[in-house]
């Protein structure tokens, strides 16, 4: 067994992870923290993690921010003030809470506000339907972010299983 998200992040040269605990990615986040390929930091909130990723990029790292899409409402200020104003790249990978099939009543509004929030910040994004898509999507989103010096985002379909039988890359 291997984790398709972790292998896709490593294959994209990502070596720094700022994370906020995410219910469906909690196992992945714990694995990343123990994986020597990544410098991993848990932030007290997602906006702070945006600043941490920005600093890591300035220092030559290739960072990713892992969180639930509920964190998107927490990062709006930091993305506008740092990434948009200074033109600093950032890749965000998020659980898609409130996606079709999510049975949590509180998550539903996060589902319907996710795309408008991303669109309002002009952040290009993709939705991964399966673990097999992760290497290709993460590679393209990272390249777009690095060359536009602007954030990009990946949403993981609610309930996607990240542990796969064989390494996907």
């Amino acid at each position: 067994m291997s984790n398709a998200l972790i292998e896709a992040l490593a294959a994209t040269g990502i070596d720094f992870v700022a994370a906020f605990p995410s219910s469906s990615m909690s196992e992945t986040e714990r694995e990343i923290e123990a994986d020597p390929r990544f410098e991993c930091v848990f932030a007290s909130n997602e906006g702070e993690a945006v600043g941490i990723c920005g600093g890591a990029w300035l220092g030559g790292k290739r960072p990713v921010l892992l969180m639930e899409n509920s964190g998107l409402s927490m990062v709006v200020y930091q993305i506008i003030r740092l990434n948009a104003a200074f033109e600093v790249p950032l890749l965000m990978v998020m659980d898609f809470r409130g996606d079709l099939g999510d049975g949590n009543w509180w998550a539903v509004p996060f589902g319907w506000t996710t795309a408008p929030l991303l669109d309002s910040m002009r952040i290009p994004y993709a939705i991964a339907e399966s673990p097999q898509e992760l290497p290709g999507l993460i590679g393209r989103l990272m390249r777009t972010s690095l060359h536009s010096k602007y954030p990009t985002a990946l949403l993981l379909r609610y309930g996607m299983e990240l542990e796969v039988k064989h390494a996907s890359v």
Partner: protein, 202 residues
């Protein structure tokens, strides 16, 4: 105590290679005037100064990183103090100029004017080496101790509200970012911008 005098003192004490992340407005103007360097990242937004410095310190553990933050900025994102307490990168020095005011927002007092102690918050967040200084001598001693220490330090400098008038830097945040990254590239002897054009990834 004037922030300007503290900054002049600081500039005499740090290396040319120190990487300095600057709070917006007057802190940026005064610091860039005193220590003009591409190793200064200027005009950082509130609640971003110390997080950016923290990320930089984690990325470059062998480099001295200094955050020049302010009370309003820290109070907007106080959670970073818990992250500092948790990870405490030893190459990071956080200096908070506490003028008890949102000066760039029109001179409105901040909570530190009414009893909030950033040093006590820092200690409560798990930061081991936190101090408050109120005179230039105390400032000099605290900075010397921080620079000599092998552990992270958090120093709150109580300063006057009134900034010193200096010419404003002629570069905006985007240019400051480019200059800063070029400075880091030269220090580190490696490419950061467009580095992926040298090696492909999936």
């Amino acid at each position: 105590m004037r922030r300007f005098d503290c900054l002049e003192q600081l500039a005499r004490m740090i290396s040319d290679q120190a990487l300095v992340i600057c709070n917006l407005q007057d802190t940026t103007y005064e610091w860039q005037h005193i220590r003009p360097s591409d190793g200064n990242l200027l005009r950082q937004g509130m609640a971003l100064v110390t997080p950016v410095a923290f990320g930089l310190a984690k990325a470059l553990p062998h480099r001295q990183v200094i955050a020049l933050d302010g009370d309003g900025s820290i109070l907007l994102g106080p959670g970073i103090m818990t992250t500092l307490g948790r990870y405490a990168p030893k190459n990071l020095f956080v200096l908070v100029f506490d003028n008890e005011t949102y000066n760039s927002g029109g001179v409105i007092p901040s909570a530190t004017a009414y009893g909030t102690s950033l040093e006590a918050m820092a200690r409560g967040a798990g930061i081991k080496h936190a101090a408050t200084v109120r005179s230039l001598q105390e400032f000099q001693d605290a900075v010397q101790a921080a620079l000599n220490s092998t552990e992270m330090s958090f120093v709150v400098a109580k300063v006057d509200r009134q900034p010193v008038e200096v010419p404003r830097p002629r570069i905006d945040g985007k240019e400051s970012k480019y200059r800063f990254v070029r400075f880091v590239e030269a220090l580190e002897g490696r490419q950061i911008l467009l580095a992926d054009e040298q090696k492909s990834f999936s």
